[in-house]
Amino acid sequence: MISSITMQTEVAQRPVEDADAETKLDARHVDFFYGDFQALEDASLAVQARRITALIGPSGCGKTTFLRIFNRMHDLTPGTRATGEVLLDGQNVLDPDTDVIQLRRQVGMLFQRPNPFPKSIYDNVAYGPHMLGWSKSRIDAVVEESLKDTGLWDEVKNRLRRSALNLSGGQQQRLCLARALAVEPQVILMDEPASSLDPIATLRIEELMQDLKKRYTIVIVTHNMQQAARVSDSTAFMLMNERRAGEVIEFGPTDDIFNRPKDSRTEDYITGRFG
């Protein structure tokens, strides 16, 4: 058994316990099915407001599935079913009466691969605000603000009308982030947002996350443990059980998960024995 003291995983300094931390998103006993196959079993997670929560675990453990339930993206896949509760500010988003459109405006998403619309840079960011019927001047302002928030403004301000597809991968991903920010969400879900990016672009995204968490609640799925350790405040470790359904094995402050894991399976994963 490796003592947790010897572990060198570096975790950013931050207050471990927040007395004032409110729970923004609260998943309780979520089961999820693709047809007859159960992909998640009794998964619970309390995401704190204006913090970064990471979901880690080996491939196929249901991290992405779990994440996509939070803004009901699983609705798009026919034959899926989620039970349990996912409370956003106390409202159950799994309730059939939930206004999914409204929900997704509050809970934005950044995907594994940059997926800008084949439109101009400006139109990409303006798409959401335009849809909400905002005035031209307000849209212009929010486009500029969102691009500044993602550090893209200085790089693209002279070519806003050019196609977004000419940007580099890292720029495209930041554009997608700006596009998500433009509708002023409260929560941003990130599904391995840096997995297709080079290390420099990855670093940019991670730096941005630290800025953004002042205003947004972030949930990130990552298969990169170092990334989870670097950026997140809380970490949930997930694993497939013997029925191949994903479970949350351990959830707590990132510092604890990486340095003082309570479950031996977490420790095995963190120390690289498998996964």
Partner: protein
């Protein structure tokens, strides 16, 4: 691993086979095109070809103005009917058609694709000509529109299916309703394919003769009223080619060449347009 020389030989052999296949496919088309140009050019350059109505048989001169106007009008009206409807059905099939209804529509569309084109003529004749008691351009347009429909809707569907799901998810994750994502993101992204499909259908309709025989019927007088019988280039080719007068046979060749030119021009224009808006 096989001997390097064997690998090089197999590589060359396959490359050569591919070149042969391309030639087998391309040469007949090129020969046909060259033939039509050579045979059609004299007629095309005859004075009055573009500006005159046909002269009575045996009388020298005359043109195909009636047929030019007829083809443009008949195919134009058919496109106005078929392109919007076909594109909308294609959008439905791709975005909302993963079910019984969609499968039924696909099946019907495939059956329509296999019908001989004269059947569409019978359809236009029965539905429009018999009810109005009159041959008319519009009856031909209806027949051609039904003929175009399956081509357009299947092309639209496959163009939309090629658009990555990630793009739809990006829009939906912003809180955009499904219909807005479809119309504002997916369709513009697939516009090139949709336009190509529509053009294929238009080109096919422009060249069809059988559906016109007992719908628009043909007319040697320049006619623009869609409720009257009307000439068409394909009809000119069909009828003049069977006549014993060399100047009218030349006219048939020239009409065929003009048809090719019109279709090619429509193709180029549409592609330039799509490129401009997609930039």
């Amino acid at each position: 691993m096989s001997h390097p020389l064997v690998r090089v030989f197999v590589d060359r052999l396959v490359a050569a086979l591919i070149v042969v296949c391309v030639m087998v496919a391309a040469i007949p088309v090129l020969v046909l095109l060259v033939f039509v140009v050579i045979k059609g050019l004299p007629g095309l350059l005859t004075p009055g070809f573009f500006t005159d109505a046909p002269h009575p048989q045996g009388v020298p001169g005359g043109g195909v103005l009636n047929a030019i106007i007829g083809t443009l009008e008949i195919v134009g009206m058919a496109s106005l009917l078929a392109v919007p409807v076909g594109a909308l059905i294609g959008i439905f099939l791709s975005e909302y058609g993963r079910n019984q209804v969609g499968d039924t529509v696909r099946f019907i569309s495939d059956v329509l694709t296999g019908l001989p084109s004269i059947a569409f003529g019978i359809f236009g004749y029965t539905v429009v000509v018999l009810t109005t008691h009159h041959f008319s351009a519009i009856s031909a347009s209806v027949a051609l529109a039904v003929l175009m429909l399956p081509v357009i809707l299947r092309a639209t569907e496959s163009a939309l299916t090629l658009i990555p799901q990630a793009l739809r998810e990006a829009g939906l994750a912003l809180g955009a309703p499904r219909w807005r994502v479809t119309l504002e993101i997916v369709v513009p992204a697939a516009l090139g394919g949709i336009v190509t499909g529509a053009l294929l259908a238009i080109a096919r309709a422009a060249g069809e003769t059988a559906p016109l025989l007992f719908t628009s019927f043909g007319n040697d007088i320049v006619q623009t009223n869609p409720l009257q019988p009307m000439g068409a280039l394909a009809l000119t080719v069909f009828r003049n080619a069977l006549l014993p007068y060399p100047n009218l046979q030349d006219q048939a060749w020239a009409a065929a060449l003009l048809l090719v030119i019109l279709v090619a021009a429509a193709n180029i224009l549409a592609r330039v347009y799509v490129r401009r808006i997609q930039r």
